[in-house]
């Protein structure tokens, strides 16, 4: 069972009916809490009961950093932020790259899809062991 986030701000734009449209999934657990990334079980060991596509929402920057000592295959500098989404009153945080170095705590950002966040062949982790696409955060006016 999934939730499509209908009725939330921005949901119309992502509702294309195309199954290949990338989504930024958060898992929803029986107690109403959300996590991104989704986990096999949530609070109390309960399995998720649905998902929410966070790319339908905007978030607020909780904190950020610009890293200049980046590992192989990672852009330099690499500005990162922890952001918090408000999904109908339920908070959920995410971490990710920021599209610009011009970011401040409290800024509003929206998720922007990126096909390859770092070079899968340059780092220590087996390239096929995980996905390398995802969402960066772009400040919105």
């Amino acid at each position: 069972m999934t939730e499509d986030g209908s009725g939330a701000a921005g949901s119309d734009a992502a509702d294309t009916g195309d199954d290949t449209t990338p989504t930024m999934d958060a898992a929803r657990y029986p107690d109403g809490s959300l996590t991104h990334p989704p986990h096999p079980v949530g609070p109390g060991g309960k399995e998720p009961v649905g998902t929410v596509d966070l790319s339908d929402y905007t978030a607020e920057v909780v904190t950020w950093t610009t890293s200049t000592a980046t590992p192989p295959g990672v852009r330099e500098p690499n500005t990162l932020a922890i952001v918090e989404f408000d999904v109908d009153g339920e908070p959920v945080r995410a971490i990710g790259q920021v599209t610009t170095e011009a970011v401040e705590t409290g800024d509003r950002v929206r998720p922007v899809y990126c096909e390859e966040l770092r070079d899968p062949d340059a780092g220590i982790r087996a390239p096929d062991s995980q996905a390398w696409d995802g969402f960066r955060f772009e400040p919105v006016a």
Binding site: V62, T63, T66, T68, T70, L117, R125
Partner: protein, 384 residues
């Protein structure tokens, strides 16, 4: 249950070494046995704390290699990996082996060989502990430190200079540690003007990349008395985890693993934070010293920076923290660090810390893996 004693300790020179992992482990292992006057064939269990000898050097199976190199065969061996907290986790495993009655003489050696890798490569080896959702964004341990430091400074209205004072203090302590990678003072301006690594943190907010090894020898207290009148007792020990995904923690400035592991250790030792005379904290990044000093209960949340500014944690303060120089000046050979923390506390509670000596009957070591992902807290008391 009989108490578990530490009757010997060793630490190699930390820094950029010619020796590789096998040689580093053997150096600390044999020095530890010599320190206690115990023969290698008396060792029943041999634990090696090490995060990544395979990834760094292409040498796996290091516990068996060490057993052979020390002539400790047929001792039971195991490698303990808990990333940066491998050393503390090794102390826990060694303590368990004795406390359970499975071993009456356990040698623990922690070590890592890192400096042959570039900073970028070593950073990636360490960052490989992160969740895939973090790793794909290029999230590293230093970037977690930058994110958390900014949040701490903004939340508690703390000045940037306070972080710099951690580096200044620990470098000052390291001057008197002959095993430290850096035995030199740094001034606050040098810290605050050093290159940015993970804004707002700069080069001198970070520990270096280091080769080194350290050892501890543990046995039941009744066995300890056969060898020496001067030993330390592991009066409390606890271990705990926090979320793998760091941003899911309710309060980014609280390390639940530190809170939970220390509560367990305090309860076992029947002491509280106010009873601790000296502490070794995991200052891989300056911000971590604030977080741990608060989560261990030494100071209120958001107040740790004030204690550093007031000199409370100086060597001559009310609660000296990182008399060894900490990871900041001593260096951080991953698997060795938690063992070397306990080495320093052992020296302090036995009154054997030389120029670094403070008045200490009870000491605490807190070893942090990941960004607080897994933590071990150990409390020692001297039995002199």
């Amino acid at each position: 249950m009989e108490r578990v004693a530490i009757i010997g300790a060793s630490m190699t020179q930390f820094g950029q070494r010619d020796a590789w992992i096998r040689e580093l482990l053997a150096e600390a292992g044999s020095a530890c046995l010599d320190d206690a006057g115990v023969a290698a064939d008396a060792v029943k269990h041999l634990y090696v704390s090490n995060m990544a000898s395979g990834e760094f050097e292409g040498q796996t199976g290091v516990p068996n290699a060490l057993a052979h190199d020390l002539a400790a065969v047929p001792a039971y061996t195991a490698r303990i990996d808990q990333t940066s907290a491998s050393g503390g986790a090794g102390v826990y495993a060694a303590w368990q082996s004795v406390a359970s009655g499975a071993s009456d003489m356990t040698l623990l050696v922690g070590g890592e060989r890192m400096t042959h890798k570039t900073t970028a490569e070593a950073t990636d080896v360490i960052a490989s502990l992160t969740h895939p959702a973090e790793y794909k964004h290029g999230v590293t341990l230093p970037s977690f430190a930058g994110l958390t430091a900014r949040h701490y400074l903004e939340t508690y209205d703390a000045p940037r200079e306070a972080l710099g004072r951690v580096a200044v203090k620990n470098h000052s302590n390291g001057v008197d540690n002959p095993h430290a990678q850096f035995q030199k003072e740094v001034d606050l301006d040098t810290v605050l003007e050093s290159p940015i690594v993970a804004d707002p943190l700069r080069l001198y907010d970070f520990c270096p990349i280091t080769d080194g090894s350290a050892g501890l020898l543990l046995c039941p207290e009744s066995v300890a008395r056969e060898y020496t009148d001067e030993y330390a007792v592991v009066s409390g020990i606890g271990g705990a985890t926090d979320t793998h995904v760091v941003h899911e923690r309710a309060d980014p400035t609280t390390m639940g693993g530190v809170v939970n592991s220390s509560e367990e250790a305090y309860r076992m030792a029947d002491v509280g934070p106010d009873d601790v005379d000296v502490a070794e904290l995991h200052d891989m990044f300056t911000i971590l010293e604030f977080l741990q000093s608060e989560d261990l209960g030494f100071f209120e949340k958001g107040e740790g920076w004030k204690a550093v500014e007031a000199g409370v944690t100086d060597r001559d303060g009310d609660l000296p923290i990182n008399t060894s120089g900490g990871l900041k000046s001593k260096g951080h050979p991953l698997g060795a660090s938690g063992v070397a923390q306990v080495y320093e506390v052992y020296k302090q509670v036995l009154g054997d810390a030389g120029a670094r000596q403070v008045d200490a009957g009870t000491g605490l070591a807190c070893n942090v893996g990941g960004f607080g992902n897994c933590v071990t807290t150990t409390i020692l008391e001297g039995a002199v």
